[in-house]
Amino acid sequence: MTYFIKSYGFIIVLLPLLGAVVNGFFGKRLRERFGGTASGYIASAMVFLSFLLSTAAFIVVAGSHGAAIVNHAYTWMSLGTLQVEIAFLFDPLSAMMLLIITGIGFLIHVYSTAYMHGDQGISRYFAYLNLFVFSMLILVLAENALLMFVGWEGVGLCSYLLIGFWFQEKQNTTAANKAFIVNRVGDFGFIAGLFLLYWFLAKAAGPSAGTSILSFSYLAEHAHLLKDATIFGASLATVICLALFLGATGKSAQIPLYVWLPDAMAGPTPVSALIHAATMVTAGVYMVGRLNFLFSMSHTAMAVIAVTGAGTALLAATMGCLQNDIKKVLAYSTVSQLGYMFLAMGVGAWSAGLFHVMTHAFFKACLFLGAGSVILGMHHEQDIRKMGGLRKHMPRTFATFALATAAIMGMPPLSGFFSKDEILWQAWSGEHGHPGLWFAGFLTAGITAFYMARLLFLTFFGETRRDAHHNHHDDHGEHAHDRVISESPAAITVPLIILAGFSAAAGLVGVPAALGGSNRIAEFLAPVLGHHGTAGTHDPIEYVLMAASVCAALAGGGLAYLFYLARPDIPVMLAERLGPVHRLVYNKYYIDEIYGALFVTGTKILSRVLALFDRHVIDLLVNVSGLALRTQARIAGWFDQAYVDGAVNLVADSTLSFGEQVRKLQTGRVQVYVLVLVCMVALGIVIRLMTV
């Protein structure tokens, strides 16, 4: 089995690519011959096959106690000191991520067959989805940083294509552009950090020709050389880590580059589920995890990551409270949860962060798919203020949604509780931890509970606020029957149920020692992430913190119940009282607008100024001189008009006007000619006599 993975591991990656190519190029023909669902089945089959192979790989890796298996495909570039291989690394970390991607990916593919049923571009949709899975697999399985970067930008491309899938509307494409460009800003940081690291190692470690410096194994061994290197005065390790972290913030939507994720909701809901909840956004966390030996070299960088994570979590949570679009709420909740993960990374709790990645992938995917099912049921209505009382009409969606909400709120038996508490505990006790960080996390837990509960109550409880004469949106799908709200078909609810199940059970994998569990996930990831945390010591404070976080969750939920079910008038009253604060939070602190003004329009103005500068200043010679010459032409009246516009530049143009003067010398009178002769000869003789 290990031999199979070692020599044919790349098949896992190639299968989704095959699906993408088939759907992309032959989609139209497929749809005509076999009907709309064909491309969906092909895509889901491909992902399912690679899911099976992933489980096989997972078993092999688990069996061999975390020994990494590397599958070499071919040498991509070998040049001077640069040696880059196309190779795939199977180790505990990547195996786990593999499972998440292919598993949840497959479920979402099945979900999409129903959700996107009837859309003309369905084959294009599945092609992009498969291409996304392909790029994500490359990112996760890459053996060296440059190949990871290929996957990194590949997922950026697919998110651009999928966000802008319904490209007829302009705002979708603007959102897609925004996503890609903000990611590009992050990628700029990633590349800069990578190249700085490369040259330092190329100089310091002096590798023999042909060794692949950027491969993770090489980096792991030689990271210690960074100890006291400096660049422009600052410590090199910090600069590199911060640059790489900039890349991570771009991809995983942290401050300051998170603005694209809320707008990314313009894409179809399964896309949001897969890309903007489960997999792509966690790429940043995966990268930090993968290069943990590098980040641990620079404490300042770790502190920055922790603070950013905590800050993002808190900020996003507050923004999530007042959102009225069901997907926007979940988007901000994702940003907030990602903040948690980076908080974990910041304090050095690598496995806790990645554990939260896994659990978050399950319940967030479940929430998004649930939201999708709600949107489908409500005939593409996304505003939660127009929903309500759906628990009667859509029982299965309600049940799974409620379970996932509980999980995210951190209710004890569910996965959310275990992974969030592990992070909060490490934030408090870890060697890089700090009570302030814990408090931010604790506060966020409360707010998360509040807005998730608000969402649950507004959507599913109370009476249906959909007023009878609500005019329809123009329907996307063909089920245009009247406004009866019916439960979604099996293809939608079954993945929901499976995901809900996982989001409930996933916690068991990482039960902390404090609660008698053996934290098997930490052991499993240890070979890659190393051991940390106070294993085994039953520090009483851990229990206190656990209790505190559960109370915060319950308080948040109760408050939401009070506000939105028991006394709906309170939020209205509060809104007037704290008018400006309410408006500030509602408009997301106007950060989008600030970015828009500062960067987008700023660059456009700068470019227009530069283009004018180029057209006129550099080419000034033409226009000014053209003008000068035209006036002269009008005066002279016989100059070739066509050529005047053709004057090339001032130098050429001054020669033209100087040509005029020389020509004027030719007055036509022969006496003047002789006079010129005499004068010049006299001048020559006089000068000569003077000089000699």
Binding site: D640, G659, R663, V670, V681
Partner: protein
């Protein structure tokens, strides 16, 4: 060497003089009207051809250089090669006159025209070979007088007579100043023969302001002949006024003769030339003067040509500019400079006469010398395309764009200048910038022919015999311009001959 022996060296000029006399006598027998059209032209061409043949034979059989007619003339390789150049341009001149409408075969005074042309060629040959002040003056006056007459010969419109008068007045003053300069030189050195003058200058270390004044006056005369700045003001008016065939000839024949004699005077009489033995005091360093003249000539020529609207005036200014370029090689005072000048004039003959021939054909067809006569020529049928591309090749070659011969000529000149050493680098840069300026007006003509949208004027009329001949000549000239652009060794070996005239 006394007169009789030197006759053997004097074969070509001798034959030409006798031929002129015979031609005059023959014309008395044939009455004007019933002579076949173009008879005299063809007789003239035949005469020049025989002279050319004799000259080539002399060139082959008698390499070395000897003084003949008691030192009045000097028969050496430089002289012979430039004579060949002038004779070729003379033949082409008569041929062009036959082809041009204003002096075509029904031209009543074609006999006198031919006689003047032949005596002009004789004048050039003597002018080039002269080794004595008197002989030089005589050759120049024969050359100039016949030019004045030929300029005013065609009674087309007031411009010809005006041009002739201007040419006469300016020429007379210039040659007057020159002969005055020579009189001073005679005073300073006491003899008329260049070799004797040279010996006296070397022996007595003659130098000082009087010598400079005499050289300045002499240069005025020679400068007038090659239309260098500041003696160039006559040439645009004369080129525009004179019959096109003659202005074509003027820009090549007499100018090449002027350069030959300028080099002979500067190198042999005043220059250090190849013999390094002459102590510097005997001559004064005229390199800088000639370099400044060259720079001014080419710049003035190019700048004034920019706004031109008449093709003949444009080519006049361009020929002034090209005189400036050639002067550059003279300023380099090296043997290679001499061969560079010969090479340049050989190439210049080809491209310039090609351009003038096209001007003649267009003048015949559309009766205009203005540039808008060339509007859209490239698109007027196969004839138009051939004419336009021939003109384009000639013009781009004049501009010095590879792969045409003009570029190789310019490379020779630049090589001569740069080989001289850092002193003249500035001149090379000026020349190169002038090339860019010159591209402006050459490209404008090409723009008119090809790029302009409007196709003005009727398409070219049916082919006549003259048209066939002119196309054939044009074809040969353009082909040579292209050939020598790519493979110019034959021309190079010829120009190498000129170098051994010094020793």
């Amino acid at each position: 060497m006394n007169n009789l022996e030197s006759l053997t060296y004097f074969a070509s000029e001798g034959f030409l003089s006798v031929y002129i006399i015979l031609l005059l006598a023959a014309s008395l027998l044939i009455r004007k009207e019933q002579g076949t059209p173009g008879l005299y032209y063809s007789l003239g061409i035949f005469g020049l051809a025989v002279t050319l043949a004799l000259e080539i034979v002399a060139c082959a059989t008698r390499p070395g250089s000897t003084e003949i007619f008691h030192g009045l003339l000097r028969s050496d390789s430089l002289g012979r090669l430039f004579k060949i150049l002038c004779l070729v341009s003379g033949i082409l001149f008569l041929l062009f006159s036959l082809l041009a409408r204003e002096t075509s075969k029904r031209f009543r005074d074609s006999m006198e025209y031919t006689v003047l042309a032949l005596s002009l060629c004789l004048g050039m040959m003597l002018f080039i070979a002269s080794n004595n002040i008197l002989m030089l003056y005589l050759g120049m006056e024969l050359l100039s007088f016949t030019s004045y007459l030929l300029t005013g010969f065609v009674d087309r419109d007031e411009r010809t007579t005006e041009a002739a008068v201007k040419y006469l007045l300016y020429g007379a003053v210039a040659s007057g100043v020159m002969i005055y300069g020579f009189s001073l030189l005679y005073g300073l050195t006491g003899s008329l023969d260049f070799s004797a003058i040279r010996a006296y200058l070397v022996a007595n270390q003659v130098s000082g302001s009087m010598l400079f004044i005499s050289i300045a006056f002499i240069l005025t005369g020679l400068g007038f002949k090659i239309a260098a700045f500041p003696f160039h003001l006559w040439s645009p008016d004369v080129y525009e006024g004179a019959p096109t065939a003659f202005s074509a000839f003027l820009s090549v024949g007499p100018k090449a003769a002027g350069f030959a004699i300028l080099m002979r005077v500067l190198y042999q009489v005043f220059g250090v030339g190849a013999q390094a033995e002459a102590p510097p005091a005997a001559q004064f360093d005229w390199t800088f003067t000639i370099a400044v003249l060259s720079a001014l000539t080419m710049t003035v020529g190019n700048l004034a040509a920019l706004p031109q609207r008449n093709i003949k005036r444009l080519l006049a200014y361009s020929s002034i500019a090209h005189a400036g370029y050639a002067l550059m090689a003279v300023a380099s005072r090296s043997a290679f400079g001499i061969s560079a000048v010969f090479f340049y004039f050989a190439v210049y003959l080809l491209m310039n006469l090609a351009a003038f021939l096209v001007a003649i054909v267009i003048a015949n067809e559309y009766y205009t010398e203005r540039l808008d006569g060339y509007e859209g020529l490239g698109w007027k049928g196969p004839q138009g395309a051939f004419l336009a591309s021939a003109m384009a090749i000639a013009l781009f070659s004049l501009a010095g764009i590879p792969p045409f011969a003009g570029f190789i000529g310019k490379v020779y000149l630049l090589m001569a200048v740069i080989k001289k050493g850092p002193g003249l680098y500035w001149l090379a840069v000026v020349a190169v910038l002038n090339t860019v300026i010159s591209l402006f007006y050459y490209a404008r003509v090409v723009k008119m022919m090809f790029l302009s949208k409007r196709v003005k004027g009727a398409p070219l009329s049916a082919m006549t015999t003259e048209r066939y001949v002119s196309y054939a000549v044009l074809g040969v000239l353009t082909f040579l311009t292209l050939l020598f652009g790519l493979y110019w060794t034959p021309l190079d070996s010829l120009s190498k001959l000129t170098m051994n005239f010094l020793n």
